[in-house]
């Protein structure tokens, strides 16, 4: 039992160490299906948002063409692809929307549902979520 305790604690430490390691490669970009894959995911994502009555209200005055373009750029960039993000900062974009924690999680669920439909495996999804998670503070309750 004591050995189990030690094993658990060292596993925790290893997990910590790995969690702070950043990768500079484009393997995530490739796993998402490159630009074509990211375009399909974004298309599905917008579809999914359309099914959620509470989230869609935030988009009532949005230029969806621009949103789509900027979102694709951002995912491409964050996943290590050959894109530059030319949109506004997350804080600027979501300011004044008073997006709640629940709405944020529902949006993440919409994105994972979109990736499910596009056949992106869960481990690739986790890798992308890790890239997006730090943005949450700039998005909710602004």
């Amino acid at each position: 039992m004591k050995t189990l305790l030690i094993a658990v604690i060292s596993a925790l430490l290893v997990a910590c160490a790995n969690a702070t390691k950043t990768t500079q490669d484009d393997s995530l970009y490739r796993a998402l299906g490159e630009l074509e894959g990211i375009e399909s995911i974004t298309h599905r994502f917008i579809n999914e948002i359309g099914f959620n009555r509470e989230i869609i209200t935030h988009f009532s005055d949005t230029d969806l063409g621009r949103f789509k373009e900027k979102f694709i750029e951002q995912i491409c960039f964050e996943s290590g692809g050959p894109c530059e993000y030319t949109g506004d900062s997350m804080q600027q974009v979501h300011r004044g929307m008073d997006i709640t924690e629940g709405e944020f999680n529902a949006t993440v669920n919409a994105l994972t549902a979109a990736m499910d439909t596009e056949g992106v495996d869960k481990r690739t999804q986790n890798r992308l979520l890790k890239k997006l998670a730090p943005m949450r503070g700039d998005i909710i309750y602004q």
């Binding site: 658990v8 596993a11 959620n52 009555r53 989230i55 709640t100 529902a106 669920n109 481990r123 949450r136």
Partner: protein, 292 residues
Amino acid sequence: MKWLHRPYASMMFLALLVGTPSAQAEQVTGKLLAAPGVTQVEGSGGGGLVPWAVLAGYDSREQTSGTVFSTQVHLPDYRLNSQGVAVSFYDRVEVSYAKHRFDLGTLGGALGVNDIEQDVLGVKARLYGDLIYSQWPQVSVGLQHRWLRDRAVAQVVGADEADQGTDLYVSATKLWLDAFSGVNVLGNLTLRASRANQFGLLGYGGDVEKSHSINAETSIALLPHPQWAIGAEYRQKPDNLSAFEEEDAGDVFVAYLPNEHFNVTGAWTNLGQIAGSKEQKGFYLSLTGYLW
């Protein structure tokens, strides 16, 4: 309530109760799948043996949630049955209740008692952080207060007190997204001040140690997929009675979380020596249903 005494029948009932998705499902859900964990044997949100810093339901800061659970532990010489409810408010406070029935089997015959029953009331408050999104782990403090309904056995084994007792704990829990090759990892560390003998079933304190001692409890889980968690837990326990050694507890578990309405956990658990019966190892099965 007769169904309380038929564990498996009540589990089926529970499954029926929560199996029908509510109309709310299409709307905003507060947390990611697996974020509330499962239900700990004393009724708090957590792993199986260890309470975690997460609160029991899928509520976010704007919501409340209610859960019910049922847990069976099959040991060679005993059976533990735990059922209860938890309500959590605005991802801030959780209140839980569990009823334990500890069946003594043939051992009970000698003492003229079939089982030991106790009630556990739990309260937990989130102090800091978010399981997934904050830089540091989510931290909560909690208490579990127990009342023994059947005190005869506690008195026989020499407990200092056979009536009621309180545990206090602090838990830190974190989920690392993509900790390694796309697998999410959850880690928990809990420190508990307790004087309970065998989860309180054998009373509180004894001749070796009368007062609270600090015990470490830890869980680790790998989530390769949002619907599946596999992991292990370890729970240090007080050892207060000279006549009946108490050992630390541990388990390895698999949890399946198909949706936001229910999840099921199977575990192989080792509770060590209990009231003189050695090597109490066995199968643990737990079902949690999310009502709203």
